[in-house]
Amino acid sequence: MGKPTGFLDYERVDAKAEAPKSRIKHFNEFHEYLPEEKQRMQGARCMECGVPFCQAGMMLMGMASGCPLHNLVPEWNDLVYNGNWKQAYNRLKKTNNFPEFTSRVCPALCENACTCGLYGDPVASKANEHAIIEHAYVNGYADAKPPKVRTGKKIAIIGSGPSGLACADQLNKRGHSVTVYERNDRVGGLLMYGIPNMKLEKQIVDRKINIMKEEGITFITNANIGKDIKASQILSEYDKVVLCCGASNPRDINAPGRDAKGIYFAVDFLTRNTKSLLDSDFKDKKYVDTKDKNVIIIGGGDTGNDCVGTSIRHGAKSVTQIEMMPKAPDCRAANNPWPEWPRICKTDYGQEEAIAVYGHDPRIYETTVKEFIKDKNGNLKAVKLVKLQFVKDEATGRNKMVEVEGSETVMDADIVLIAAGFLGSQKYLTDAFKVELNERTNIKTDPGHYQTNVPNVFAAGDVHRGQSLVVWAIREGREAAKAVDESLMGYSNLNVQ
């Protein structure tokens, strides 16, 4: 357990972020991690709880609390404290195929449920994870380890996001021959194009993909199944198919004037941005330029924040983020105690940068867009906003949001980015495989299972579960891999902790 009194002896120290005004000048990651020796003290703060809430991944009062991957957090925290990096890496990779991604992009459910956080700051498990995996790369522990025996079974995985990659990694380790299809030009799905470079540098993604290639996985890009390649062809070529194509159907805002030019889905905005960055360092100008523009972002989530950060980096004139819900409290409310997921107002990097640049928080709460206002050329010029409030519905007894009469305002807008979440799977693909969907347009399976109604077709990740976190995607990928392995071989020795 690290050090029994570590939580009393040491303060939490996080990776230091570069100052907002300086980091907005580039699109690179901007955290400076502690030197190894100091990071070890952060491991000492772990109490190795008898009930490690950090790794529970359990529903508490309707919200997930703790890591869905059941990462062996107490074990590797201890090993970090003892400087036993290799063993720490072994324990980490036992449950998590991609610590290099999760240690950068995960909202750290582990830390939010950490018992240390009950009175004080949680253990810096995310930074510890980062230290372990980066140490492993430097010291060669993370090198490719191709399987020695091949089963001769062929598996196609559609989609190279976190669930597809996890599933591929697991199945390949077992000796199955895995081919991953990606409709984009680069492998990684959301990891590549959904998450901006400053959060997850793309060479980090490539580093892992290259190892997976070395281990024998085939990646085929620019291959859009259901469009470029027929599903039937895939089904006939492979023993099993796993659909890991994400919940890539973005939620739209159906307000008048939606056809105005200058309205983008966040995912497209971010994709074009990263592609342009990677292809030409923006020289090709194929990205949506926000320079000197008034940018309005609809949606208060992580993607919205990524849009804020990206817009600022391009030199937007103003950035406003609108959110339907009221502002969450700054610290836990009485009815939201530890270890529940904290429903608090989190000021993420983009918002920090906005405050630094524009002097105020970009977020407006309890507000929605009532109309997009175009100029005569059909270009967006402003948006009409309206205030919302909760009213109790007498019929159902539930709260519902209604507009506040007479609260309309108009705000200048050159660009609107819609980051209002995703609705489910994309129809062309599910139609191609003829898989049954549930009411939320996710692919339907029995609860806890991954086999779809179509023989030999499995589904995992957001396309199955609905829009969610990277960690859930990895978990689904791992579990689906076990199901596939079992259906192929009659048993499975794949491990899901």
């Binding site: 008898g50 036992k94 380790k173 902790q497």
Partner: protein
């Protein structure tokens, strides 16, 4: 035999073997062999005065058994046979048989005829029968119902056979033939020298039932008597003592192993004397007999084979010799020689034996039974469990002594000699050149050469695969193997078990885990293997056991191994040893995967038989060689199956079995292997795993040192496990099978683990086989594919998501905390829904369901919540283990509800005993009395509503505790009456409870200390707990708590938490049913606890028989506990289980939360009760018929057989099966001298506190003398009276617990002597004892008070003009005592006060002493050889302050007792002073110095303690 007519059915959970008995014993002997009436009379009187050591049934009319052994009374028999026309001839020319025949005449006549025929066939002549005159009308109806027909037979000695032993040998053969030809008769005795009269009597009935014993012509020079206190009252005439040779007070803990080995030994025992006759005798042991009977069988066999009786006793019950620094080499050699052939019959025992010429007495190595004797100037020896049983003129007494631990007293009435231990053993040790024989024959492992062969090693990947095959886990690597290899000790864990038992667990558990360790509670004591290491031994012997009956050098052709846990090198040495008398061969225990495990075992037998015929005598069972197509027989299965095969085929003592195995890694694993028969174990994979720890930098240590430390940790752990059962040597532990199985198929157990109790059925051999294959497939993928070889983390103890399911998990903890915090019952129901999750049952009760009647009753008719919660209690958690805030929070909550909170064993702050200025009642209703007796004062006891005697606790039954100095914060030290910063030890046993009658005594003491409190006894569920509970009920307890093994918030070694004890469902059901079976159920309330988490749990407890319910973990969780499981580290992050002031600030519990929990539980109970149709709890208790096994269970769960629990034969009867106040045990306190005399005479003085004196006569039956008076003083004055306000002068013999708990202001002055527990819990009073005028013996050489004096004394003074028994001043924390000598283990566990000892002391002085000072007069300069120096230093007395203190105390001693020794010292003080040594504990000395330094800096006393504490902690 006579048990047939039972009026009540038997509980399916009950087994006859669970029965225990303890007793009072006595003997009268005329040294010169002068036969007299007085000897018989006196013996009968002794037994009559030991009434409080005898048991009786619920009605008090039938006794547990009383008997007497005398010489054959020739004069009497001559007289009575004459009238029958039988001519018996001269003394010893005939043999007399005493028979219990069946009442059935036909059966009896056949038996008699059979006996006559056998006598004649054996060449003797049968003289005739005599019906023994009896008076059945004096007996209780139960005794009469099963009374046998009692007759005597007379047999003539043929002229060619010599008188005495040779004739008796002939009679022995006759008896053995008869016993095997007839199974309805019990032969009480058959001898020409001795005769036994016994039966199911109350002590007074022996004399009145047998008119023979009152006949003036019934004379004897030897008489042994015995009164039995059995746990049960199931009728049995034959179980009364004496046996044929012995009377036994105690218990043989290792009996199963001893009996097995004795049966096997039959093959290699040969003697001239029984040549050609052996087949008539065998088996030596009657396996259906009691432990005493089997010991008697064995002694008898050895004697008949020609071994002298004292020698036979000496080798079966040897004194501890291996670690004895003062024993002569000659004597050690003698013991060593016999140790190679006979393992100790281990356990508390005081044994008296006689063959009609010799009479002897011996005490076990621990001295756990009292035996005192007087020798008079007219040649009488009077020996008894207590003094004062016979009035003897003090002027006639030449010696007052006691039996010393491991020592023997022998009286030869033929030669007219008393032979003491030294003389006797020297004589035997000198009979043969044992030393020479050993030197040339005995092989020592450590001296064997290491051969030039490589030790096999694994590659990294091989090792990983093997770990996977054998189910190793990361938890085990990190939390089991690592701490042992690192520190040489097992790791400590906390907060009990909340994972499913192995059979219900979805994750893999090796077979070891299906066996639960048994432990001693009540009927025999666990021992302290750490502080009393001197009595332990880890040596084992490997090879062919010699012929016990012939003394020859070849007998010691055997390999001596000091630690049976072997390194690879050790094993290699054995494998390649080439020595005469040894032949070693390795037998694989691996077999082809996917073939039958059962066949593999059979093949093993065949293989072993084959090599045995070839002369192999060391068999190494090896599971090396597991590969793609080989799997291993689970090592425990292989060992136990083979052991059984070897016993059955009588090879066991001819061969030894060593195990070379990958499987065991945890201490418990090794314990089961040794316990089921392995002689030594080489755990090669565990040791390889240590290499992995080193290679992966998890352990920085030399590999060989780490392995040594690991092996040491294992063996120390096993010694501790053995000591929980009271066993001190590994040699006796081997094969003793001290386990209960749970969740194994009955056939499997019968076949391969015969003799092991298994009452919950489960998986079969086919399931085990499947498990083996499944585990193998994980490591060796069936298709050769890659699989994850890293170790899994199932989280058996500390949880890991995805591993074992824990009852306390994030969800249940959070829901419970929120529900109780918000007072939200709906949320609470969500919580209980998780706990009761029917899809994955985690407990036995989880497999049960209610058998709801068609119609229930409306909820509003059910007893109210407010009424139900009064039955609720919180667990015993000491102030010290949990914080002040948490402890008080529980007390306030329970007092608000009218329930009860429990102090735990740490005492209670004085301020809390009365309601404070805040109006809150923080006084715990239950005051616990545990083995450490911390803070147990008269005031503490008088403030109790219930006093709980903790015999065991769920977390670590059979173990003591150790509160390290760093946790003894000043405020904790204050309530525990100890020193801050100095560690505190709770001994494993209560040193005043080694047996059931001792417990009865403590119950009596406490009842005297607080007449209004009910006395509760806390037991832990294990096989036989019901039988123990019956004994406890007979001893007067009013509440019996049966705790589950899984509860327990305390810190303990991991194996104690997980592998000792059983779920409460079993123990509770057994207790409830066994009490009904014995007619005792209405005398007690039954309480249960152990992870009770929902209303459903509690209702099930009620239906199984519990009336009151305890909760500990759940209330802690409501107060903020998050099951961190670091209670042992003082780092509890929520301020519950810590004393750290910073962390305590984090405590956020409130009494309301606890109250909400209790109310919610009650509410949920009400809902179920309404459905079940019960209005009250009382109506519901015991209605087991309303429980059934859950429908539609998964296949694995469905295998678990609960029928023994659910088939309660007493369920649904109309009889009341709850406590009935009308039947409450009657202590008869109104008859005590305190009530009759003292309180009456002092009544006026007590009102005012005026000075008064009283004089009374006392005898040994006046027990707990002065205690009631003391309690009255405490109630009125607490400790405000001046010393000597009330003086009571007593003449005679003080009974047990003389002056227990007496407070300041009371002085008891005793002229005479006193028994055990003198001054127990002394709370400020003064005790003075000295011999009467006219005594001629020397005071400083003769014993005056018994064992365990001043146990747990907190303050006061004692002046003792004579020698004390063993364990003088044990756990004294504040009293000042002066004595003139003491026995073994003096000042053990002492934490404060002063002891001045003006004479010689026994061994192991100051063991575990952490505080206080002893001044010892060391005239022979041998104190250093007798002191246990682990914790103390010895100094000459130099400081002025010390000199003054010593001198003042001696002065006071002389003033009160007129001590001659004292006077001599004072008169020559300058000469004596240099001979005194000051014994002071290191830590105590450090702290005292630190406190003084702080005080010198000007700090107040209190502040100085705090500062000194922190300074020391750094």
């Amino acid at each position: 035999m006579f048990d047939a007519k039972l009026s009540v059915p038997r509980s399916p959970l009950y087994r006859e073997e669970f029965e225990h008995d303890n007793c009072g014993i006595g003997a009268c002997v005329n040294i010169n062999g002068k036969k007299s009436r007085a000897t018989v009379e006196n013996a009968l009187k002794i037994v009559e005065n030991l009434e409080h050591r005898a048991g009786k049934d619920a009605e008090g009319k039938t006794g547990d058994g009383v008997g007497i052994l005398t010489q054959v009374p020739h004069k009497f028999f001559t007289k009575v046979t004459k009238s029958l026309g039988i001519f018996i001839g001269e003394e010893r020319e005939y043999g007399v048989g005493m028979f219990f025949f069946p009442q059935d005449e036909l059966q009896r006549n056949q038996a008699k005829k059979m006996f006559e025929i056998i006598v004649e066939k054996e060449g003797l002549s049968f003289l005739g029968w005599r019906e023994v005159p009896t008076k059945p009308e004096v007996l209780g109806h139960k005794a009469v119902e099963c009374m046998p027909c009692i007759m005597q037979a007379f047999i003539k000695k043929p002229s060619e056979i010599e008188k005495g032993l040779e004739f008796d040998r002939k009679l022995y053969i006759v008896r053995r033939i008869f016993e095997q030809s007839n199974d309805v008769t019990y032969v009480v005795s058959l001898s020409s020298r001795t005769i036994v009269y016994k039966g199911m009597f109350l002590v007074g009935q022996l004399r009145t039932f047998f008119a023979d014993l009152q006949d003036p012509d019934y004379l004897s020079a030897i008489a042994l008597v015995h009164s039995r206190f059995s746990t049960n009252t199931n009728p049995s005439w034959e179980r009364a003592h004496p046996n044929r040779f012995i009377v036994h007070n105690g218990e043989i803990n290792t009996i199963k192993g001893n009996a097995d080995k004795m049966l096997a030994r039959e093959e290699n025992m040969e003697s001239e004397h029984l040549k050609g006759e052996l087949y008539k005798i065998l088996p030596v042991i009657d396996a259906s007999g009691s432990d005493s009977a089997m010991l008697d069988n064995t002694l008898e066999f050895l004697v008949m084979s020609g071994m002298p009786l004292p020698l036979a006793v000496m080798i079966t019950i040897p004194e501890p010799w291996a670690n004895n620094k003062t024993m002569s080499q000659k004597k050690k050699d003698f013991y060593q020689y016999y140790a190679t052939m006979m393992e100790p019959w281990d356990g508390p025992a005081s044994i008296l034996f006689s063959d009609g010429d010799l009479m002897g007495a011996v005490l076990d190595r621990n001295g756990l039974r009292p035996s005192r004797y007087y020798i008079t100037d007219d040649g009488e020896v009077i020996l008894s469990s207590e003094v004062g049983v016979l009035p003897i003129d003090p002027a006639k007494i030449v010696k007052k002594e006691r039996l010393h631990p491991g020592k023997m007293l022998l009286i030869d009435t033929v030669k007219g000699e008393v032979i003491d231990d030294e003389q006797l053993k020297d004589a035997y040790a000198g009979r043969q050149p044992y030393g020479e024989w050993l030197d040339s024959n005995l092989v020592k492992l450590r001296e064997l050469k290491i051969p030039n062969v490589r030790v096999p090693e694994f590659t990294y990947e091989e090792r990983q695969r093997m770990q996977k095959v054998f189910g190793y886990t990361y938890d085990e690597l990190k939390q089991v193997i690592l701490p042992m290899a690192k520190n040489g000790n097992e790791a400590i864990a906390a907060m009990g078990v909340d994972t499913p038992i192995p059979v219900l667990n979805k994750t893999y558990h090796p077979l070891f885990d299906y066996f639960k360790q048994l432990f001693a509670q009540v009927t025999n004591p666990p021992i302290d293997a750490i502080r009393e290491e001197v009595v332990t031994s880890t040596t084992v012997y490997i090879g062919t056991g010699g012929n016990l009956l012939e003394e020859k050098p070849e007998n010691c052709d055997i390999l001596k191994v000091e630690n049976p846990i072997m390194t690879n090198t050790d094993l290699l040495k054995i494998k390649s040893m080439k020595k005469k008398g040894f032949k070693v061969e390795t037998v694989p225990i691996i077999y082809y995967k996917n073939t039958s495990l059962e066949k593999a075992i059979n093949r093993l037998f065949v293989e072993v038989d084959r090599i045995f015929r070839e002369g192999v005598n060391i068999i190494i069972l090896s599971d090396r060689g597991v590969d793609e197509n080989h799997v291993a027989i689970p090592s425990l299965l292989a060992v136990s199956a083979l052991q059984q095969h070897l016993v059955q085929t009588k090879k066991r003592t001819s061969v030894s079995v060593i195990l070379e195995t990958a499987e065991p890694r945890d201490v418990h694993h090794f314990a089961t292997l040794l316990g089921f028969g392995a002689t030594a174990i080489n755990p090669y994979l565990a040791q390889e795993s240590i290499k992995e720890l080193i290679d992966s930098h998890m352990l920085d240590k030399d590999y060989y040192a780490a392995v040594d430390d690991y092996n040491h940790a294992v063996i120390s752990g096993i010694v501790k496990i053995a000591s929980k059962m009271g066993i001190s040597t590994i040699q006796s532990y081997q094969g003793s099978k001290i386990f209960e199985a749970i969740g194994l198929d009955y056939d499997l157990v019968d076949k391969y683990f015969a003799g092991t109790v298994c009452r919950v059925g489960g998986i079969s051999i086919a399931d085990i086989e499947k498990q083996v294959n499944d585990m193998h497939s994980l490591a060796f993928d069936p298709l050769g594919l890659a699989s994850d070889l890293t170790l899994d983390s199932p989280g058996h103890h500390k949880a890991r998501s995805g591993g074992d399911e824990h009852l306390y998990n994030p969800q249940t903890i959070h829901l419970l905390q929120e529900a109780t915090r918000r007072g939200d019952y709906e949320l609470f129901k969500q919580y209980t829904a998780c706990v009761n999750d029917e899809n994955s049952p985690k407990t036995l009760r989880g497999l049960m369901d209610f058998n709801y009647p068609k119609k229930g009753i409306p909820l509003d008719q059910v007893e109210s919540v407010d009424s139900i919660v009064k039955r609720f209690k919180t667990g015993a958690m000491s102030y010290g283990s949990i914080s002040k805030e948490a402890h008080e929070c529980l007390a306030i909550a329970m007092n608000n509800l009218g329930g009860k909170s429990n102090t735990g064993e740490g005492g209670e702050d004085l301020e809390r005993l009365s309601i404070g200025p805040d109006g809150l009642n923080k006084c715990s209703a239950i005051k616990q009395v545990a083995s450490g007796r911390f803070g147990v004062t008269s005031k503490y006891l008088t403030s109790a509503q219930e006093i709980q005697i903790k015999m065991a606790q769920g977390a670590k039954p059979g173990e003591g505790g150790h509160l390290p100095g760093g946790k003894v914060y000043p405020w904790i030290a204050k309530t525990r009456h100890s020193t801050p910063g100095v560690g505190l030890i709770s001994p494993p046993p209560h040193h005043d409870i080694y047996s059931i009658e001792d417990l009865a005594q403590l119950i009596y003491d406490l009842k005297n200390a607080n007449k209004d409190a009910r006395i509760s006894v806390k037991l832990v569920s294990e096989a036989g707990v019901g039988t123990v509970a019956a004994g406890v009920a007979k001893a007067g307890a009013q509440v019996i708590l049966v705790s589950g093994y899984d509860g327990g918030t305390g810190a303990a070694p991991r194996n104690s938490i997980h592998n000792a004890g059983l779920p409460w469902e079993l123990g509770l059901a057994e207790t409830h049913q066994t009490l009904i079976q014995n007619g005792l159920r209405n005398k007690v309330r039954i309480e249960t606890d152990g992870k009770l988490m929902s209303g459903r749990d509690v209702v099930i407890a009620a239906l199984l028989g519990a009336e009151e319910y305890g909760f500990a973990t759940a209330p802690l969780v409501t107060m903020g506990c998050v099951m961190m499981r670091v209670c042992n580290l003082d780092t509890c992050p929520v301020g519950v289980a810590t004393q750290n002031p910073e962390l305590r600030k984090r405590f956020r519990g409130k009494p309301e939360y606890v109250e909400n929990f209790m109310k919610f539980i009650a509410e949920e109970m009400r809902e179920i009760m309404a459905e079940l149709g019960f209005k009250t709890i009382d109506e519901m208790v015991g209605h087991t018929e309303l429980l059934k096994v859950r429908d539609n269970l998964d296949e694995r769960y469905a295998k678990v057989d609960l029928s023994n629990i659910l088939n309660n034969p007493y369920a649904g009867s109309k009889e009341k099966v709850t406590f009935d106040p009308k039947q409450v045990y009657d202590f008869g306190l109104e008859k005590t001298q305190d009530e009759r005399v003292l309180l009456k005479q002092l009544s006026k003085a007590l009102e005012t506190g005026a000075k008064r004196s009283v004089e009374v006569d006392v005898t040994n039956t006046d027990r707990s003398f002065g205690t009631i008076l003391g309690s009255e003083i405490t109630k009125r004055f607490y400790n405000t009276l001046p010393e000597d306000t009330y003086r009571v002068l007593c003449n005679g013999a003080g009974g047990q617990s003389f002056g227990a708990f007496i407070p300041k202001g009371l002085t008891l002055e005793l002229v005479g002597d006193s028994n055990d527990y003198f001054g127990k819990g002394l709370s400020g009073g003064k005790l003075i004892v000295y011999p009467p005028k006219g005594s001629t013996f020397k005071q400083d050489e003769n014993i005056i008070i018994g064992n365990v004096a001043l146990y747990g004394a907190t303050s006061g003074k004692a002046f003792i003009n004579g020698v004390a028994g063993e364990r003088f001043c044990v756990r004294n924390s504040g009293a000042v005592a002066v004595v003139e000598g003491c026995g073994d283990h003096g000042c053990e566990y002492m934490t404060g006060g002063r002891a001045v000892i003006l004479g010689s002391i026994g061994k192991n002085f100051a063991a575990g002493m952490s505080g206080g000072i002893a001044y010892v007069l060391d005239e022979k300069n041998d104190l250093y050889t007798k002191t246990n120096k682990d914790m103390v230093s010895s100094y000459e007395i130099t400081s002025k302050y010390d000199v003054l203190e010593l001198k003042d105390l001696i002065k006071e001693h002389v003033a009160y007792t007129n001590s001659e020794k004292g006077k001599m010292i004072l008169d020559n003080f300058g000469e004596y002073l240099p001979k005194f040594k000051k014994i002071i504990p290191h830590d105590y000395e450090e702290m005292q110095k630190a406190i003084v330094q702080m005080e010198e800096k000007g700090l107040s006393a209190e502040q100085a303690q705090i500062e000194a504490f922190y300074a020391n902690k750094k």
